[in-house]
Symmetry: C2
Subunit: 107 residues, 2 copies
DNA sequence: GAAATCGTCAACCGATTGGTTGAATGACGC
DNA sequence: GCGTCATTCAACCAATCGGTTGACGATTTC
């Protein structure tokens, strides 16, 4: 049996999925639009979205024939709480975050 | 190619490895002592420790015939910084952390 | 030096992962 | 109703994962 924390961290372990999450930070997106920038089949992206959904990191709602993907920060918050017990990390440094984000997106 | 962030999150996706990290919060430990509470072979634990090492989450130093494992919070800090960009999480709540830790350890 | 201890290596196993392709389902637009 | 668009399903593939067992190389102890 996998706990939600297992699924959350495992889901974050793939760069494609992390990039999807950063895209969803901007706004909710349809599956086809999520897939557009990737050099990979729509079916592959659909699988990634299923994994993110099972991990609780996003939710998907079907309206008409398009399925909208929405970031769900709760699972991330759980994981973040778990992590912060190690080492009493200083409060969020937004500059650090933007550096990491930039490095991620440039890959 | 896998980035360190990939390796870090993937490493955290396994409950055995997260438990090992919580054990190492207390103190540095020898491989055999890390393995003792688990119902699994020493070789399996050795593999988990290799994964944690490659992810940068721990370091291993051999002194004599004993190999000591030490928590390395830097990789966790990187991952934490990445995560905290999502949702501007409130400052660490230690009570939350202890609840999660208790739930984890009771599995 | 022989025996025990610490840890890894190598080979194997079944299950899962991350991807592909092609067919199938469902909803729209005309 | 027919074609098209949005998405998933099903089958397949190679690679990786998480575990096992048994042999092995160091190191310590007697």
């Amino acid at each position: 049996m996998s706990t939600r924390l297992d699924l959350t961290f495992a889901a974050l372990g793939d760069p494609t999925r992390r990039t999807i999450l950063t895209m969803l930070l901007e706004d909710d997106m349809a599956v086809t639009d999520v897939a557009e920038p990737f050099e990979m089949s729509l079916a592959a992206i659909s699988k990634h979205l299923t994994i993110l959904t099972r991990a609780g990191l996003i939710s998907q709602e079907k309206r008409g024939r398009v399925k909208w993907c929405k970031l769900e920060p709760d699972a991330l918050r759980e994981a973040s709480v778990w992590m912060q017990g190690f080492g009493q990390f200083e409060p969020v440094n937004l500059d650090d975050f933007e550096r990491f984000l930039a490095r991620e997106l440039s890959d």
